[in-house]
């Protein structure tokens, strides 16, 4: 097991390396000169050249990449071209907002998916099942930029039930923080909720057809025990995979939602930095989000072994 984890962790290194090369290369293909963007009206050529030297942008691209990589492996992600703030600080500053939104959305989508999905599976082909199927189909087809705008228009501006955007730190005003969380969390949760719900329903249905369920029922167990103790645990594996991947992609998942709702998270930082050609920030955010994705897939694989003792890692090779 330990060996397996170590092997997986080592495998992440070449993947992360590739990710950084791609992020670095793609960004440099975008037209424009970051120094000009940040110079604003202060476009004195001498000063611009000094800035290029200061930021290392005067060096050939491969050299720029190697310099960046040398610092990155030592944990120094550089400084934002725009604000000169250390990039790691900029990301850490915005992480709480992203995590709050992302986890709230996952909690929302998972709990609804588990409850409604189970009902739909148990009452297969009933009216409830039909209704949830149609709603989930609509939800999964609705792009979140559109849903977000509709929510802002209806609940935010017309009915004034929730603020249309913005963020207040939880410690400063917990009530306001939660009020502002509602619309973006619904927006972000909707699509994944639909996917999760369908997954819950279909894997439960799959499990229901197994013989051990018939056995359990034949033993005279109550239906609720059959579902909760026997069916659910076995149906969870694909659901855990889905949720694990959703947790791992919380940063990129929130990019659009954060932008629409003016939510000061890492996703919005990334969007702002791409249009502003803030190379170090984009590279770092891409790297961090790739790493978090890889770590969460590893965690998901670990969870499998716990959920299903038949799955084990490493032993098969020996």
């Amino acid at each position: 097991m330990t060996q397996y984890v170590i092997r997986r962790l080592l495998l992440m290194i070449p993947v992360a390396f590739l990710v950084t090369i791609i992020a670095f290369g793609l960004l440099r293909l975008a037209p424009g000169d970051p120094v000009l963007v940040y110079a604003g009206e202060e476009r004195d050529p001498v000063s611009l050249q000094e800035l290029r030297v200061l930021y290392g942008l005067d060096k050939p691209l491969p050299v720029q990449y190697i310099v960046w990589l040398q610092h990155a492996v030592r944990g120094d992600l550089g400084r934002s071209l725009r604000t000169r703030q250390p990039v790691s600080e900029a990301i850490i500053e915005r992480l709480p907002a992203t995590l709050e939104l992302g986890l709230a959305a996952i909690a929302l989508s998972t709990s609804i998916a588990l409850i409604v999905g189970t009902i739909a599976a148990v009452k297969r082909n009933s009216f409830v099942d039909l209704l949830t199927s149609s709603i989930t189909l609509a939800a999964v087809s609705l792009p979140n930029f559109f849903l977000g705008l509709i929510l802002i228009l209806v609940l935010g501006l017309a009915l004034r039930m929730f603020p249309p955007g913005g963020y207040v730190p939880f410690l400063e005003d917990p009530g306001d923080n939660l009020r502002r969380l509602v619309l973006p969390a619904i927006t972000l949760a909707t699509a994944s909720m639909a996917v999760n719900l369908r997954q819950v329903r279909s894997s439960l249905l799959d499990v229901f057809s197994h013989e051990y369920i018939r056995t359990a029922r034949a033993k005279g167990l109550r239906e609720s025990t059959v579902i909760a103790r026997h069916a659910m645990k076995n149906a969870l594996i694909p659901i855990v995979t889905l949720i694990g991947l959703q947790i791992g992609s919380v940063i990129e998942g929130a990019i659009i939602t954060e932008t629409i709702f003016f939510w000061p998270g890492v996703g919005r930082l990334l969007v702002d930095s791409i249009t502003g050609l803030d190379y170090p920030v984009v590279q770092a955010v891409v790297l961090v989000s790739a790493l978090s994705f890889m770590l969460s897939t590893l965690a998901v694989d670990m969870l499998y072994a716990w959920l299903d003792p038949r799955i084990s890692y490493g032993r098969s090779r020996t």
């Binding site: 110079a39 000063s47 200061l54 003016f262």
Partner: protein
Amino acid sequence: MSRSVKLFAFLATAGLLIAACGDSGPSAPGAQQSAPGTAASPAPAAPAAGRPAPGGTLTFVLENDVINFDPLVSRAFVDRNVHYQIYDSLVRIDAAGKIIPWLAEKWEFSDGDKTVTLSLRKNVTYHDGTAFDADSVKWNIDRYRTAKGSARSGELASIDTVEVVDPSTVRFKLKAPFAGLLANLVDRAGMMVSRKAVEAGGEDFTRKAFRAGTGPFILTEAIKDDHMTLEKNPNWWGTDKDGNKLPYLDKITVKPITNSDVRLTNLKTGDAHVGNNIAGKDVAGVKAEGTLVYQEKPGLSFASIIPNRAPGFVFEDARYVRAVSMAIDRQEIHEKVFFGVGAIGYGPIAPPHFAFDPAFKPFPKADADGAKKLVAEVGKGALTFEFLVSSGDPQTLQLAQLIQAQLAKAEITAEIKQLQFSEILKLQDEKSFKGATLIGWSGRIDPDGNTYDHVFTDRPFNDSSYSNADVDKALDEQRATTDEAKRKAALRKAEQTMVVDDPARIWYRFGVAQLITVKALQGLEPYPDQLIRFQFAWLKK
């Protein structure tokens, strides 16, 4: 879009929505009270009703988050809104745009205007307790002039050496006379920062709340994208006309809100008390709103279309540029795109400038026939050019489309091409754009800052690659003297050439400085630079 980019794009293209009212506009260059040139203390800005009461807290909605608190590297307009509260400059302007004493109590030009001697205010201390003196001025000016990556070196390029004469006298020796120097010392290039604070904090001294200025407020908290807190500096040197210590307010919360509608909502609901930028479409509504007071003053900014006049490009021929300038209906742009907020303009010299000529209206009406004749005179067929517009900004596109429609009446074809703003900047800097771009200038206190670097041969902001020996000569003349009458004559002569005879650009409007306050907030008035002087603000109980 990055916020600074957005701001800049906005300033550049919309020519500052922060824009002036048409009727009060160009002919009344801020005829408000102005402090005498040697006053010992700043006078309160507006004769407010009732007596100023100390104390109180207010919220200021700012159009964006501050990017950099260090005047050395600050490049965004939005930064200055906070700089002006925490730092003092050597000199400042009054509400009419005239330079007034600040940390320098008086100044004297000598040696054929090649030496400037400043007498400094005594008993001024920085927020960190260190003393402000001549050594401090020298250290600051030298830092701005020589630090790598300084955004201020251009503004102070005329200074050769800084000498400390005695603790309260400092002398600048100039390489050549430069009339615009004092105006540059009004803003960030003249802001005094505590050496101790900078040396202790290094590059990051402004990263967290810091004590480095001498200004009326101290920055005690700065939370990125959320808010900044400015608290009263109890030891500030300024007093009002009755001798009461300034500032009156205890605390200012600055909230950055990029969306103009949201800013306005905050003001309307009373969550915020003051703002200095709302969209043109909302001005009429705010004026009608009973809870708010709207004030405005002609601004220093201009908006222009930049043709590429370098050899080999369409607009190499001056007649083409003039044809475009003639064909444009500035009145219609003013009304349809800017809702009548701002002022129609024809050149770079703005209404608050001493050299502004209200009678200078070379293209009073759109003249499609005249433009057609000029194009025909060139004899190369119809005029068609590529018109670069930054993508993702609906108002700019609307403006470009209106201009396109107006030019079509004169059979001139503007082919709109939308590009990322960063890409347009690059093409413009390389001077490789094919036709024309839309860009403005946030304006400078001295008309030199609105002209010289934009049209003088090979200067940094001369994006149209313009070169005219007469203009260069006149602009050099106005730099070399501090005599306002002579400067005015030279600047107006240059303007006539660069706008009409051999046009460098197509200027079409001036901006405005706005101020929106709740009724209870007193003592404030707009300044041409749009920045708020919070030391004069007080809340009516």
